[in-house]
């Protein structure tokens, strides 16, 4: 049995260790700690237009003192003819926020609208989070330019839309559009008008945006681009859960909206 003196020393050591802990453990301000992917989904169901591509994203912010903050991330995306999507993310930032200690995490999001399921694969832990997502499809079916309509301010009174014509980007035809939204002076305490410019290049064949650029003096500039676009049918196994993964039930995360 431990002597009383030993126990007292042990207790004091524990108290000292407690005192050494930070008062509020966790990431510092402006950062986040990635815990896990919850689920992924596609905003609309696109069938008959398979593809696979690389994604590059860059976010740049210039501070008032001239300091530049730049963050980037990559992904590999694919969609099959049935509309199933796969998104393999190497995540180290979310726009202005960077992962604590610069840590990156690779996570695979699979959305299977055929089975109304979402899978999130954690390749490190060899676990898969399965979530049932049900969605209601609009009866009119897919139409071109559905996703290229821009943000919610594209048709507001303070927004001007400019047609940029057609270009071949990464081997696919794309139509361009630039939306300039003006925040009038005084609206946000600004002494001058602020202009936010969003440029999107949309592929009618693939029914997705292949390039988008946003320039916002308040938050920074972001560039999203698809590269190495391949229009062949992706490997079907990309949209299934590999063997050897432990299933974690994520519950039911979506339901048909009331609208």
């Amino acid at each position: 049995m431990l002597s009383s003196r030993s126990i007292v020393l042990l207790a004091l050591a524990g108290v000292c260790a407690f005192a050494q802990l930070p008062r509020h453990p966790g990431p510092p301000p402006g950062d986040f700690a990635f815990m896990r992917g919850e689920f992924g989904f596609a905003g609309k169901l696109v069938t008959g237009a398979p593809y696979s591509a690389q994604v590059s994203r860059t976010f740049t912010q210039t501070l008032a003192d001239g300091t530049h903050i730049q963050r980037s991330s990559t992904a590999t995306v694919a969609r099959d003819s049935q509309g199933r999507t796969r998104n393999e993310e190497t995540m180290s930032s979310m726009g202005r926020l960077g992962a604590a200690n610069g840590a990156s995490r690779t996570t695979v999001f699979i959305h299977d609208p055929v089975a109304s399921m979402s899978y999130v694969l954690d390749s490190n832990a060899k676990t898969v989070r399965q979530t049932q997502i049900t969605a209601s499809q609009h009866p009119h079916g897919p139409r071109p330019n559905a996703a290229a309509t821009g943000g919610p301010r594209a048709h507001s009174a303070n927004a001007a839309t400019e047609d940029l014509g057609t270009q071949v980007i990464q081997g696919v035809n794309a139509t361009g559009k630039r939306v300039t939204h003006t925040v009038a002076a005084g609206v946000e305490g600004n002494d001058r008008a602020i202009q936010v410019v969003t440029e999107t290049w949309y592929s009618p064949d693939l029914q997705l945006v292949v390039v988008s650029k946003t320039s916002d003096p308040r938050f920074g500039d972001s560039v999203y681009q698809l590269t190495n676009i391949t229009r062949a049918e992706p490997d079907p196994t990309l949209f299934t859960v590999p063997s050897g993964y432990t299933l974690l039930q994520g519950g039911r995360r979506g339901s048909p909206a009331a609208q």
């Binding site: 049995m1 431990l2 009383s4 126990i7 042990l10 207790a11 524990g14 108290v15 407690f18 802990l21 509020h24 453990p25 966790g26 990431p27 510092p28 986040f32 700690a33 815990m35 992917g37 919850e38 689920f39 992924g40 596609a42 905003g43 609309k44 169901l45 994203r57 999507t85 993310e89 930032s93 979310m94 726009g95 202005r96 926020l97 999001f109 969605a135 209601s136 499809q137 609009h138 009119h140 139409r143 996703a147 309509t149 821009g150 943000g151 919610p152 594209a154 048709h155 936010v196 969003t198 945006v209 988008s212 916002d216 938050f219 972001s222 999203y224 039911r252 979506g254 909206a257 609208q259």
Partner: protein, 180 residues
């Protein structure tokens, strides 16, 4: 009953009928000494147990506070204002400009650990419409939420919070909701 057993019974009755006899002085002193020694050991055991329990409790608290489990702050969830719209509002709004557009709308089925619906972030207002989206769970200080444009009260807790962040295909956050 045998003869031996009868003899033993008679002797036990005789012993029981006899008057109690005081122990000798030596026996009494020896008994007192043993009693005092046992009492000291019992007090030491109680004291040592108390100290041990305190040490274990301190170790448990230390491990809890240094582990990955975050401290969840209800105050942060309550501080978000105004009431946040649902996820389908956060992602479907860009597509609502044309009623003929194909629309896949999602509504969050609230689970027990969800404190709020998705709050649309100010900087997402001018971003392209969502084509594919991801929801990731992160831990962040409340100051990061304010950094993202979530309006929090001044008395918000400094504790880190868990949040689900809705990301578009461009990796930029469109909305955030807190986990309780």
């Amino acid at each position: 009953m045998s003869e031996n057993e009868l003899d033993l019974l008679e002797e036990l009755r005789a012993l029981a009928a006899a008057e109690p006899q005081a122990p000798s002085l030596a026996v009494e002193q020896k008994l007192l000494a043993n009693f005092r020694a046992r009492s000291v050991r019992r007090r030491r055991l109680v004291w040592e147990s108390a100290v041990g329990a305190f040490a274990v409790a301190a170790a448990v608290v230390t491990l809890f506070l240094s582990g990955p489990a975050p401290k969840r702050s209800n105050a942060v969830a309550q501080a978000i204002q105004p009431a946040a719209p649902d996820i389908h509002q956060a992602i479907a709004e860009p597509q609502q400009q044309d009623s003929d557009l194909p629309q896949t709308r999602f509504a969050v089925v609230r689970t027990d650990d969800v404190a709020s619906s998705f709050y649309p972030l100010p900087e997402a207002a001018d971003l392209p419409a969502i084509e594919t989206a991801m929801v990731v769970r992160v831990e962040m200080p409340a100051s990061s939420l304010q950094f993202m444009g979530v309006p929090l009260g001044e008395d918000v807790s400094a504790d880190p919070v868990e949040a689900d962040v809705l990301l578009g295909q461009d990796g930029l956050a469109r909305g955030v909701r807190l986990i309780q």
